[in-house]
């Protein structure tokens, strides 16, 4: 095939209202060819998702407004196509993996049905045949026990599993172009490697072109043929992957690459200086089983999500939880905040059993303990503006701040997480994935908590903002003695930020220890496989060195 398979020229997208239009993307050009991988890197909120959505025709106009730009698929102008032609391309020729899987999966259809719909829509397969293919796909993306899980609903899956469901949906028809918007943010390194391999295989097999939006430089380096860097709605740099990574031209790219946490760079880490204050949270033998009835009258089945877990968090300490996707990390977090009841076990917060608390004690606890949810979109009320969302903890716990200061506090928090004061008037649907995550963090900080449970809290942030947020969290930890339970799949970050690390697999803790010890001398085979699964730059086959080493 000659020429690019997909080409975007001069795309400019605005979002309209009765105020000045918000320019999300401004005069963007890019293209991708057969069997090629284009990585889009860039600042959170720089227009990556918007420009790719525009290709799929997913920007509602109005309120969106495609001010300028043309898009070509296989040489044909997408704008001149009939709706039917366009529909036929979507899903069959171009597929998209969305950033926030919970919101983008239909809550009332089983995931099996949602994936099978791709086959049915394009007349490829239906009925039992479609179902068989769905099970196959789920197996390929690493969902355990796919025969049983096809009939379950999105809310019954873990964040990473949902993301894989999205991926399964996208690769179902081996499209010529896949647009993957942060496809691995919720995946642990081993599953991530598996998924990336899968994408590579597909590319090799079918010559699929891949547009990969990611903030993960390692992933980008390992996948990209070309790299494009965006900032503030514009492309600031574009070129061969190797060139961009090794000789970044634009100031932002340079900053981006240098912001990467450096594994061996001991003095730049943000672990706490003085390990171990007094223990504030003691978790003892927590077990969580989810009961699921299959069908309306079928027998109940159980999923053992958490199996006898015990650990402890000290004051001023960050406990990182890493582990396999679906290993029960979010479940633990939700249980600790009493959002789900544990099947058994105890959790003592400063000596009081969280699971035995009454309403009043719970209210007090929740002031001290906050959570950042894995799926930020769903965790915020769509009817509230950002100001109300962030100030809600202040409204609940009236003693924190006098009302007159709420507004200033909101603005201050927004700025701390790299957003602007004017964002306070917007609603949650008007933000990018990373911006939502930052709003969630700002909200968690609002009530001056003692312990924050962060569930993949920085996974959608580009490295520079990630660094800014981590710095902020670390600073609060040192100044105010905050503690964190930091659930992530991102090993460099835990290494950089966590004092102790817990490794989970299949609902159990397989290993825990101080960060240094764990990284220096992993005991469990799973931990070792995690540490080894770190991706390598594409242009450098077989080398064991890491990207971070190279850049520095």
């Amino acid at each position: 095939m000659t020429g690019p398979i997909l080409e975007v020229r001069g795309l400019t997208v605005d979002f309209l209202s009765d105020r000045d239009p918000v320019r999300a993307v401004s005069a963007v050009d890019f293209h991708v060819s057969h069997a090629e991988t284009l990585c889009i890197l860039g600042e959170s909120g720089s227009g990556k998702s918007v420009s790719t959505s525009a290709i799929m025709g997913l920007i509602d106009t109005p309120p969106g407004d495609i001010v300028a730009g043309r898009m070509f698929f296989e040489g044909r102008d997408l704008a001149t196509m009939t709706e039917e032609e366009r529909r036929d391309i979507n899903g069959r020729k171009i597929a998209m993996i969305f950033q926030d899987p919970l919101a983008y999966l239909n809550p009332v259809h089983s995931i099996g049905r949602q994936i099978a719909e791709v086959f049915e829509t394009h007349g490829v397969a239906s009925g039992a045949d479609a179902k068989r293919r769905v099970v196959d796909l789920l197996r390929r993306v690493g969902i355990p026990d796919p025969e049983n899980r096809v009939d379950q609903y999105p809310h019954q899956f873990s964040g990473g599993q949902r993301q894989r469901v999205m991926i399964a949906m996208a690769i179902a028809l081996q499209p010529s172009v896949i647009i993957a918007d942060e496809p691995t943010t919720a995946l642990d390194v081993s599953v991530q490697a598996q998924i990336l391999d899968l994408l590579r295989d597909l590319q090799a097999e079918y010559g699929m072109a891949l547009i990969l939006i990611t903030h993960d430089l390692e992933v980008a380096a390992s996948m990209a043929d070309r790299v494009m860097v965006m900032k503030g709605g514009q492309i600031v740099e574009e070129g061969e992957a190797r060139t961009v990574f090794t000789r970044p031209q634009h100031e932002y790219t340079q900053k981006l690459l240098s912001a990467l946490p450096h594994a061996d760079d001991t003095d730049r880490h943000r672990r706490s200086a003085t390990v171990a204050g007094e223990p504030i949270l003691k978790v003892e033998n927590i077990v969580k089983r989810y009961t699921m009835s299959t069908g309306l009258f079928g027998a109940a089945k159980h999923v053992h999500a958490v199996n006898d877990i015990s650990f402890q968090v000290n004051r001023g300490e960050t406990v990182g939880i890493v582990g396999e996707s679906g290993s029960g990390k979010s479940s633990v977090a939700r249980i600790l905040l009493r959002l789900n009841e544990p099947t058994s076990g105890r959790a003592l917060y400063k000596g009081d059993d969280i699971f035995r608390m009454n309403e009043r004690e719970l209210l007090k606890l929740r002031r001290k303990m906050q959570m950042v949810f894995q799926d930020p979109y769903g965790s915020m009320n769509p009817r509230m503006d950002v100001r109300s969302i962030i100030s809600e903890p202040l409204r609940i716990h009236r003693d924190i701040l006098p009302k007159a200061q709420w507004n200033d506090r909101v603005v201050e928090l927004l700025e701390l997480v790299g957003l602007k004061a004017e964002h306070a008037n917007r609603h949650i649907h008007q933000f990018s994935g990373g911006q939502r995550q930052r709003i969630a963090i700002a909200r968690a900080l609002a009530s001056d908590p003692e312990l924050i449970v962060c569930d993949e809290a920085v996974s959608a942030l580009d490295v520079s903002i990630q660094a800014q947020v981590i710095d902020l969290l670390a600073d609060l930890r040192t100044r105010l003695g905050l503690s964190y339970i930091f659930i992530t799949h991102d090993l460099p970050i835990v290494r950089h930020f966590a004092d102790r690390i817990i490794v989970m697999k299949q609902g159990e803790i397989v290993e825990q220890g101080t960060t240094q010890a764990l990284f220096a001398n992993p005991q469990h085979s799973y931990t070792r496989s995690l540490l080894n699964a770190t991706p390598h730059p594409k242009w450098e086959t077989g080398a064991a060195s890491q990207l971070s080493v190279r850049v520095s």
Binding site: L58, A103, P107
Partner: protein
């Protein structure tokens, strides 16, 4: 699920009993039936004889225990007017109403889903405006007004349909048409309202990215997500129809339970009131249980506590 059903059934039985107690005592607060059954110029002695004959002279609680005793033998009392078993009267009328109500709700619901969804697909469009205006006008016009004008136009002037009564398929058209108006109008509005929200949710974008047909997006993705309030409102409307499509029944001479109940209430035919309430209450309770189950079927996130 079975546990839940059993519990609901039990609760419902309790409610039915409560309802019967209420109806029994409260109806007797509404005056002496002898005034209505005997001619106006009947003598006081005749009235006393009437009360004694039907036990209205006994203290209320005794009347109630007698009633309960009879209930145990499935004896629901005699209609004062109709000289036959009250339950027989009620059960004869009920299917007539049920047929009408089911048809009307079903048609109104189906039509409203289509019209409401299409209106929501393009809010503010010409179709949307037109659909809203027409459906609302239908829903807020007085039903007897529509019924009588309908008869004058379609039966008398155009001679297309029979004026009233039962029998052929043509007899169904006007009663159902009139009965549908309000449910249709209300449901179109509810469907439209919830659909507008659902259609702008992210999962609809996913479906678009998959290349799913517009129709299917509307009806399978968005509609499915907005069905909950629709089902509830439809259920409530069905209830009020089951409870009596009084106007339609009386205008069109449809021998249904609504008219029967109203007549019985106005005439203080207590046994018939009690029996009709019992019959409709059972139907309503079953309907509500069905709706609750439907919720759980439609939305897997909904769970009911059985404990």
């Amino acid at each position: 699920m079975f546990g839940y059903l059993g519990k609901r059934a039990l609760h419902s039985v309790v409610s039915v009993l409560g309802l019967l107690v209420l109806v029994f005592f409260l109806t007797r607060l509404t005056g002496d039936p002898s005034y209505l059954f005997l001619p106006l110029d009947a003598t006081p002695q005749a009235r006393e004889a009437f009360s004694a004959l039907h036990g209205f002279d006994q203290p209320l609680y005794i009347q109630f225990f007698n009633y309960l005793g009879d209930l145990l033998h499935l004896d629901f009392g005699e209609s004062l007017r109709q000289n036959r078993s009250a339950m027989e009267v009620a059960l004869e009328a009920f299917p007539q109403t049920l047929k009408l109500a089911v048809m009307a709700i079903f048609l109104a619901g189906a039509l409203a889903l289509v019209v409401g969804s299409l209106a929501a697909a393009k809010p503010g469009s010409l179709f949307d405006r037109f659909a809203s205006l027409v459906s609302l006008a239908g829903a807020s016009a007085p039903d007897f007004w529509v019924a009588i004008v309908g008869i004058l136009v379609f039966a008398v002037s155009l001679d297309l349909l029979p004026t009233s009564g039962t029998g052929s398929a043509a007899h169904w058209i006007m009663p159902i048409g009139v009965l549908m108006l309000r449910p249709f109008g209300l449901l179109v509005q509810v469907v439209r309202g919830t659909m507008i929200g659902a259609l702008s949710s992210p999962y609809v974008k996913t479906a678009r990215a998959k290349g799913v047909r517009r129709q299917k997006i509307i009806f399978s993705h968005a509609l499915r997500n907005s069905l909950l309030p629709v089902i509830t409102v439809a259920g409530d409307l069905a209830t009020s129809l089951v409870n009596g499509a009084v106007v339609v029944e009386s205008v069109f001479g449809w021998p249904g339970i609504g008219k029967l109940m109203i007549d019985a209430i106005i005439q203080r035919d207590f046994a018939v009131v009690q029996s009709t309430v019992l019959v409709t209450a059972c139907a309503i309770f079953i309907l509500n249980i069905a709706i609750d189950i439907l919720y759980a079927v439609l939305d897997p996130r909904i769970r009911y506590q059985t404990s």
